[in-house]
Symmetry: C2
Subunit: 346 residues, 2 copies
């Protein structure tokens, strides 16, 4: 089983190193190919997603990704910025279905800003569409009739794009508690109206799944008020970006949340949902658990190694129960000490 | 002083009635003109924002607005839906600056889903742009080259639009703790890049205000993790919609949050940020405090009656301290009993 390791920028290399240690300890037949990505790739070879990196990703069975983002690159033209690497991989490999589970580890009840009784009820998955929306429409700077600078971005979804993500989400709901909440802004956006219409059409194939609809402003509110009400949430690229970061904090720390970005055949890219955190890079302060949990998702979804995935997740829970805490969780352990704790628990 | 009273749909009439009682008790020289708006207007005269209603709003010194939204109207063409009434008023009257304060009433520390120590630190204002963004760009349904249905909405801001809201926000920050956080998604959106560039340009006029920038996904996370870090947040129409509803829940209930939508001369529309809540309409369950607090904002910002506004706000705090609680606050008081409690405290 061939894994592409794309560590990227900031804390990316540090957290990937710990995930690699955990994977190596499982005794599976894994081979790794490393490649440059993001600001690191730009600085080395002039492009955030060089063709060689894309090749490595294409020929791998799965991709483990760290993070991209580098303040040094903020002044570059948009197509050369680090973020274009992750957007490019999602688009080129047609990784349209992004699963972002948020579940409260009982051991972390103290770390959430939410009251323990609210936080402990969280067990949801956000299914975020990853190939469309205002992320990938035409965009640019232009002049208005009066000669003013204007920035614009076209938001859109077509029915095929909505249908495939809706099927992903209904299947995810069917495998869980059978409840799907579709989040949009259909009272204002035509893109959302099409989204809602198509989700309703697809629901005919899943009579066993209970479908509801919520406006995104209300969803942001309900995720604070009573996140335990949600099982699976399906939403577009932009709203999914916002709501999944919000949900991550409800379970204690963004340093805990893993994600899978899948194509139609189950090939996937796995990444922590936190970013490159340049402010703490190189200091051993990063929490590697989101990346380690992403590696577990990789084993389960792309490599058909469910038992190994279970072992990793159990080891993470055991490490937390044993008191392993990085700074984001209110502790003082370093990145590699957190890795040690998971390895010891394995 | 002439006030347009637009009660609208759902719980709108119930909460407006209580605000009216409170205003009447102040002994000010106020006259009222009522007008139909939203689904109620559509059902009566075939349009959610009839010309007569727009005239009433135009000739008033200030507008007190309830809520619009009615499930019966969800199948109508977009331009006939209730939401178009509030969007139309904001646009026609050039109410571009939406102030949404979120402050924890000490008496309500128990009602927030956040831990008391996190919630009690909240004292922020969201300044939301209200006349542009993906809300008002060209939008519609079209066919792709392959004949697929596609919904689209154009997101855009020009420099003049960003400049005027940035000035509003910098002034608001100067009148408070001097900190402004501009929220965008400049790593993906050109609209956000222009937003960020112009906010930075405007900041040259306000050397005494400390400006920072945050991506919207991070902001949604920080509003849960540590909302006390914010003083004034300035953002676009769509992100402001989402973040302000989220912030409302952090302070306990969306039933508490007032808002002002101002034009360049201080004329304004005042409304609770909650919606029409058709599920509880007519049952006396709605919390009228957000509307009563909106009336206070109206007195302060448009009618130059700061002392009367202070009286209302003090009465609301006193009513809460005395135990007044509607169902959203964990109590059993009806809408009019909540009004009684505020009147008694006045
Ligand atoms: C880095 C950025 C482009 C990206 C996104 O907005 O999708 C990130 O926030 C994420 O959620 O993976
Ligand atoms: C009713 C709707 C169009 C409106 C909006 O999205 O602006 C509402 O959610 C608000 O925040 O005032």
């Amino acid at each position: 089983m061939r894994i592409a390791l794309l560590a990227g920028d900031g804390i990316g290399p540090e957290v990937i190193a710990q995930a690699r240690r955990v994977l190596d300890a499982l005794g599976l037949d894994l081979t790794y190919e490393e490649a440059l990505v993001g600001g690191a790739a730009y600085k080395a070879v002039g492009h955030p997603l060089p063709p060689e990196t894309l090749d490595v990703a294409r020929r791998a069975d799965a991709i483990l990704f760290g993070a991209v983002g580098d303040f040094d690159c903020d002044h570059l033209e948009r197509h050369l910025r680090p973020e274009q690497a992750i957007l490019g991989l999602r688009k080129e490999l047609v990784l349209f279905s992004n699963l972002r589970p948020a579940k409260m580890f009982a051991e972390l009840a103290d770390a959430s800003a939410l009251r323990p009784e609210v936080a402990s009820a969280i067990d949801l998955v956000i299914v975020r569409e990853l190939n469309g929306d205002v992320y990938f429409g035409e965009k640019g700077m232009r002049k208005t009739a009066d000669g003013l600078r204007e920035g614009y971005d076209i938001m859109s979804y077509n029915e095929a794009e909505v249908r495939r993500i809706a099927h992903s989400a209904f299947r995810a709901a069917r495998a869980r508690r059978g409840k799907l909440c579709s989040v949009d802004k259909a009272n204002v956006l035509e893109t959302s109206q099409l989204w809602r219409d198509v989700v309703i059409e697809v629901s005919a194939d899943y009579p066993d799944v209970e479908l509801s609809h919520m406006y995104v402003d209300n969803a942001a509110m309900q995720l604070v008020r009573n996140p335990g009400q949600f099982d699976v949430i399906v939403t577009g690229n932009l709203f999914g970006d916002i709501l999944s970061d919000q949900a991550s904090m409800c379970v204690g720390s963004i340093g805990m949340l893993a994600s899978a970005s899948l194509d139609a055949n189950g090939k996937g890219l796995y990444e922590p949902i936190h970013g490159s955190a340049p402010d703490i890079a190189g200091q051993g302060k990063a929490n590697p658990l989101a990346t380690i949990l992403s590696a577990a998702m990789m084993l389960r979804y792309s490599l058909d190694q469910g038992a190994a995935a279970d072992r990793i997740e159990a080891a993470v829970a055991k490490a937390l129960a044993g008191g392993a805490r990085s700074p984001d969780l209110g502790g003082t352990m370093t990145t590699s000490e957190m890795g040690d704790a998971v390895l010891a628990a394995l």
